[in-house]
């Protein structure tokens, strides 16, 4: 259905869309245990589901006074109902120059766009609103919150147009996350797709988001050669993001130290997120996409 709907660019090619189509079926299964189209909100509002009573205070709608209770107790109580509203799923895609890395299908940003599209699709299909924001991109990074599966193509268009900024324009991830937290309303589940290759790994920004009521989930995306570099010899390493240069001799011991550092780093992030109840999912762009969306994300507690 989706695959034939319109022509697509390289990021959302036909193969991807077919995968998404399969995801659609899977997504339906995922939704089967959930009340259709509804999410219980933490807010009290107008609905048929009773939530609680509270004392009347001047200014309250008289229509909502529970007169039966008044008759028994002679005190005016306001009947509170669970307010049902569609929630907003936030997807933040890191588009810093370091994300512009990897070949073909394993390109980090491409991968991130696909994951963002898949998450968006699942959310739209679940009648949620989806707000996708590209952090640090060259293009305008926001799209108004979308609703309904029909908006999916707008999401695709938006993601297709996303490009990485040229090299040497580093992204301050913490600052970007803080800004997002303060600007946007409707806090809710938030997916951060990033390689976290910045000083501090964006921990401060995530904390700021959490304090604003967001429920962050981190999809830590790295390519295979970042996980296991195939470098050797006398090298001058140029940082794609900052343009910084590091000269070093890469030999077996250096590679070993790199791998150890990486493991420590990921373990630290996992423990940091676990302590705050944030799902943390390290993935490699070499992993099969379907596997990641359908199983890994689910195992990581990111989708229901």
């Amino acid at each position: 259905m989706i695959a034939t709907a319109r022509p697509h660019d390289a990021v959302f090619d036909e193969t991807f869309l077919r995968k998404l189509e399969r995801l659609d079926i899977m997504a339906r299964k995922l939704r089967a245990g959930v009340v259709r189209g509804e999410r219980r909100s933490t807010k009290r509002g107008q609905s048929v589901e009773f939530a609680d009573y509270r004392l009347y205070s001047p200014g309250d709608d008289l229509r909502r006074v529970d007169w039966n209770v008044y008759a028994r107790t002679e005190r005016a109580f306001i009947k509170l109902f669970v307010e049902e509203e569609d929630r907003t799923i936030h997807v933040l895609l890191d588009s810093s120059p370091s994300m512009d890395w990897g070949d073909g299908d394993q390109h980090k940003l491409t991968w991130g766009r696909r994951v963002a599209a898949a998450l968006g699709y699942i959310a739209l299909a679940g009648l949620d609103r989806v707000a996708v924001t590209v952090l640090g991109g060259a293009t305008d990074g926001r799209i108004p919150a979308l609703r309904g599966t029909k908006s999916f193509f707008r999401l695709l268009d938006f993601l297709s147009a996303t490009t990485s900024p040229p090299a040497n324009q580093p992204l301050d991830l913490d600052q970007a996350l803080r800004t997002y937290a303060s600007r946007t309303r409707n806090p809710g589940p938030l997916f951060l797709i990033s390689d976290l290759l910045v000083e501090g790994s964006g921990k401060l920004g995530l904390t700021a988001l959490a304090s604003h009521g967001y429920e962050p989930a981190i999809i830590h995306t790295l390519t295979a050669d970042e996980l296991n570099p195939a470098l050797a010899g006398e090298l001058k390493l140029v940082d794609r993001e900052t343009g910084g240069v590091r000269e070093l001799t890469v030999d077996e011991s250096a590679l070993s130290r790199y791998r150890q550092t990486l493991t420590t780093w990921q373990a630290d992030l996992a423990s940091h997120c676990a302590g705050r109840g944030w799902p943390y999912l390290p993935i490699s762009t070499a992993d099969p996409f379907d596997e990641v969306i359908l199983n890994t994300l689910r195992r990581g507690g990111m989708v229901q």
């Binding site: 370091s98 390493l237 590091r246 990486l262």
Partner: protein
């Protein structure tokens, strides 16, 4: 210590860019990565400084500098210089004569002399040219002037010791134009001095003499000859002692493989001892040996042909015949022996080239050619019918080769024997039909008969007599007198005159090798006389051997046998010979240096291949661990 190309030292400046490259670390390959964040955390202790770093001790740098140093030092061609450098160009005369075979310097003097020539080649200046002349029995330019050291070395290596004497006159004659062709030329003579220098020479160039050899003992035979005596022959051998101590030796004389005589000799230091040994009749090739274990073996054996190569004539006369003996004595290449007891024995048949009977009947079973003079009755050759008084020569067969140059017309004969002409004979001269001189061939045997006694005519007093005798001897004994010298020195070229009609000559050398020659203008030039010993010369007409003679090659040279090193008595037009000072050569060492550079480069490459550029300490540590390294690009399991 010096250097042929000292300017090459400037190349050491190449060390500056090498060190600079190490300090610059320009060899780093630029590699873009997504982020250096993790690398920075991981490689804090291995971080390299850029762009200039402090020069750290690095094994590769050290090896490269070493290789550079070795290469540069090889290029400047360092050498150790001897006391006196020789001239810009050299003419080397190397003695290859028999005395250079002496083993007082192991393995031989010639080897040492060749080493000296190699040193001279090494000492040549960059553009210097060198000529190498080998002086043996003849002198030979083995390498014309060239600066090609490889060619010079090869020519020197090719030199082999000969067995002959030193022909130094010829060597100097060759060296003179060679020395004048190029400026600043020094003539270097490498020899033991065992030769006779030429009395005069035209050499203008300075001469240096490099003497090889040391004081040494040698006992040698320097003369050997046979001579006929009344009853047979005797051999004279002279043994000389060139050493400084008295020597005893055993002189043995062999006829073929048969020992003829052995005699103990005591020869005083520097003295000589002659020895005369009586020989039995009819000996052939003699070999005389002394059992001297000395430095030169060539002069310990001589070969002598008994009687040389002269034809042997057995003369049997009834009484003394002065005319005949004198006439025969005038003949070249023949030796006349008188029959013992006045009668020829039949056993002598094979040994003599001609039998002459004067007034005596030859034995019946004699098989050799015969000249019968004044035939007695019942001589077995012709029938005697009586005597002729005062015969006058009335007819001569003037066209016969035997009568060439002979005119008998005017001779006076008192009395002749009247004979009948046998069927095999032709009459060369007659008196009214009665033969006076007959000649012919019967059963392959040549015979001639003169019917009157020489003493009964005036023939011996005429000019015709020696000519007639020569014609008769020549015809009757064609195998006699090849004219070969009795002995020659090794490497001498011998000219062998072939008999007329000979179309091939086969010469067998002491090793049994046969060489066939075709005479040109009746002469064969035989040069292959390097080997000491007896050479058999056979002459053939078609397949028929018509003459066999023996040529002996012996050292027999006191100059060569005197192997004690001697000062060279030679002056050139420019300067006297500079003693026997041996000029030291330049010993170049660029080869080992170049080899060292290559080895160092190979090690450097190996280290680079194994472990890349690291500090000395790291490399030593890694070597110590010495564990097998995994392939660098092999995919590994991603850490969980």
């Amino acid at each position: 210590m010096g250097s042929i190309a000292p300017l090459g030292l400037g190349l050491l400046a190449l060390a500056i860019p090498i060190i600079a490259l190490y300090m610059l670390r320009m060899r780093r390959q630029e590699q873009v990565v997504s982020s250096t964040l993790l690398w920075e955390q991981a490689i804090r202790d291995v971080r390299a400084n850029a762009p200039w770093q402090k020069l750290q001790p690095n094994l590769l740098l050290l090896l490269q500098l070493l290789a550079l140093a070795a290469l540069v030092f090889a290029l400047i061609r360092p050498f150790w210089l001897g006391a006196t450098p020789l001239g810009a160009n050299l003419v080397a005369i190397i003695d290859v004569s028999g005395s250079m075979n002496a083993t007082d310097i192991a393995p031989s003097r010639l080897t040492k002399a060749k080493a000296e020539v190699q040193n001279l080649i090494a000492s040549l200046p960059a553009n210097g040219q060198m000529t190498i002349i080998a002086a043996g029995a003849g002198a030979e330019v083995v390498q014309a002037a060239t600066s090609d050291r490889a060619a010079l070395r090869e020519a020197t290596d090719r030199l082999t010791a000969r067995t002959g004497i030193t022909n130094f006159t010829e060597a100097i004659a060759l060296a003179t134009p060679a020395a004048e062709r190029l400026p600043d030329t020094t003539v270097v003579i490498i020899s033991d001095g065992a030769f006779t220098p030429p009395a005069t020479n035209d050499l203008r160039a300075p001469i240096r003499f490099i003497q090889v050899g040391k004081e040494s003992e040698n006992l040698g035979i320097t003369a050997a000859a046979t001579r006929r005596t009344g009853g047979g022959a005797e051999l004279f051998v002279r043994v000389q002692n060139f050493g400084t101590t008295e020597r005893q030796t055993l002189l043995s004389v062999y006829d073929g493989q048969t020992l003829v005589e052995a005699r103990a000799l005591t020869v005083a230091a520097g003295g000589e001892m002659g020895s005369t040994i009586g020989l039995p009749p009819a000996v052939g090739l003699l070999r005389a040996e002394i059992d001297a274990a000395d430095e030169l073996a060539l002069d310990n054996t001589v070969w002598v042909r008994s009687g040389g190569n002269k034809g042997r004539i057995l003369l049997t006369t009834a009484g003394p015949n002065t005319f005949l003996e004198r006439g025969l004595a005038l003949q070249p290449n023949v030796v006349v022996e008188r029959a013992q007891g006045g009668a020829a024995t039949p056993t002598d048949g094979g040994d003599y080239d001609l039998y002459i009977f004067d007034g005596v009947a030859p034995p019946k079973d004699l098989r050799g050619p015969i000249l019968l003079i004044n035939p007695p009755a019942d001589n077995g050759l012709v029938t005697v019918t009586g005597t002729i008084e005062r015969p006058a020569v009335t007819g001569q067969l003037r066209d016969d080769p035997l009568m060439k140059g002979v005119d008998l017309e005017r001779i006076q004969i008192a009395e002749a024997v009247a004979v009948e002409r046998p069927a095999w004979a032709r009459v060369l001269a007659d008196s009214g039909g009665k033969p006076l001189l007959l000649a012919g061939e019967s059963d392959g045997r040549r015979m001639a008969i003169l019917t009157f006694a020489l003493s009964r005519s005036d023939l011996p007093l005429t000019l015709a007599y020696p000519i007639l005798l020569a014609n008769l001897v020549g015809w009757l004994a064609p195998n006699a007198g090849s004219g070969l010298p009795e002995t020659i020195h090794p490497d001498e070229i011998v000219s062998i005159a072939a008999r007329s009609g000979v179309d091939s000559m086969v010469i067998t050398d002491p090793d049994g090798r046969e060489r066939r020659f075709v005479p040109a203008h009746g002469v064969v030039l035989f040069p292959n006389t390097a080997r000491l010993g007896a050479y058999t010369v056979r002459e053939f007409v078609g397949d028929r051997e018509i003459r066999r003679s023996v040529l002996t090659v012996n050292l027999l040279s006191a100059a060569e046998s005197k192997i004690t090193p001697q000062a060279l008595q030679l002056t050139s037009g420019a300067a006297a010979v500079t003693g026997s000072e041996i000029p030291r050569s330049r010993n170049e060492i660029w080869r080992p240096l170049l080899l060292a550079a290559l080895i160092i480069l190979a090690i450097e490459w190996w280290i680079y291949y194994r472990g890349g550029a690291r500090s000395l300490g790291t490399f030593a540590r890694d070597l110590w661990r010495s564990r097998p390294r995994p392939a660098r690009n092999r995919a590994r399991k991603r850490p969980a």
